[in-house]
Symmetry: C2
Subunit: 203 residues, 2 copies
């Protein structure tokens, strides 16, 4: 069995389908890069990956190996099988034109690629509207909440070649990005790699 | 000018409209009760109150006086004008049948009222579907995130008569509950009161 590696170029995104039992491997090929992930049920795209249900049932905001990610209907969408990094974010929304307008220096926003825009494009062929995109799982994004509740964004802890493996627990439509925001990846723009290990190939 | 007080009976909810400039006053009449709040733009109900955008732009998970609550389109929906309690939650989803199935003792779920069910009923007359209800602002809910990221739910800090005041920054459809979950309100079920101070009445 050969598993091919797909590369998402810097500041772009990709859309694809997973079948239940498939394993998605998200790899940071160069280190210190973030990949925003969103998923919808293939059967009915009004069912979506929910940060709130996931926090509720896991009783933590930091997700890692063994945790299950839930949909808004409280059904398992993914199980995290392997986590080389141990620090991801599920609090914040994908960077958008408005993110750059509100949080970045004047002039940043115009023409700036964004994870939100890239997810909109990735999901459009599947009939999913921009307003349906909620809080994303921001893989490798290093966001900590301090004791006063402040949200502190630091460079990713991921080193070259480190990965997160997610098993699909239902048939899914997935969007994945190589993050476009300077503040999330230490001022660099890098690619993200991914592999899909099909369930039927794993015996 | 007389402002009437509306009472939401225990384990129920209410739906109503706010105009830009109106102030919604949410009151805990007996203390230690939680009120889940969700809002959609009156003009286009695919625009919704977003925990993720709100965390992003305020750079905190604990919202209080002076903070602005944003929509998924990054537009201000509410400004918090007065907060007597200082501890609310915007991480967790409204309690639902599945919440009681997954997190509570066996047998709890059947026939148990829930904030999710009450919000579904409150929004139905406005053409808003159950799958559109995301993470709610859980007013007076005492949720802390510890240094390891664990989500810890404790009894509300609200005492009888304490309130949160929110000014509507656009025309809104709002759902509000008196929480149905034992674990959120110290095992009691109590009402929630609210007032709407119309913008045009405030001169």
């Amino acid at each position: 069995m050969t598993v091919s590696t797909q590369r998402i170029p810097p500041q772009t995104g990709a859309g694809f389908e997973l079948r239940r039992g498939d394993v998605l491997v998200v790899i940071d090929p160069q280190g210190e890069q973030v990949a925003d992930l969103m998923a919808f049920a293939a059967e009915g795209r009004e069912e979506w990956l929910s940060s709130g249900r996931t926090f509720d049932y896991n009783e933590t905001i930091y997700l890692t190996t063994g945790h299950v990610l839930y949909s808004n209907r409280s059904r398992p969408m993914f199980t995290l099988l392997r986590d080389d990094v141990g620090q991801h974010d599920f609090l914040l929304t994908p960077c958008s034109t408005e993110t750059f307008e509100i949080l970045y220096p004047p002039g940043t926003a115009e023409g700036h690629p964004s994870c939100f825009g890239n997810l909109v494009a990735a999901f459009a062929p599947y009939g999913i509207a921009p307003d349906q995109i909620p809080t994303t799982l921001n893989i490798f994004m290093n966001v900590r909440v301090d004791e006063r509740g402040r949200v502190v964004i630091a460079p990713p802890l991921s080193r070259a070649g480190q990965r997160l493996e997610l098993r699909a627990e239902m048939d899914l439509v997935v969007g994945l990005t190589a993050c476009s925001a300077e503040g999330s990846n230490n001022g660099t723009f890098k690619p993200i790699d991914y592999q899909i290990i099909r369930g039927q190939d794993r015996g």
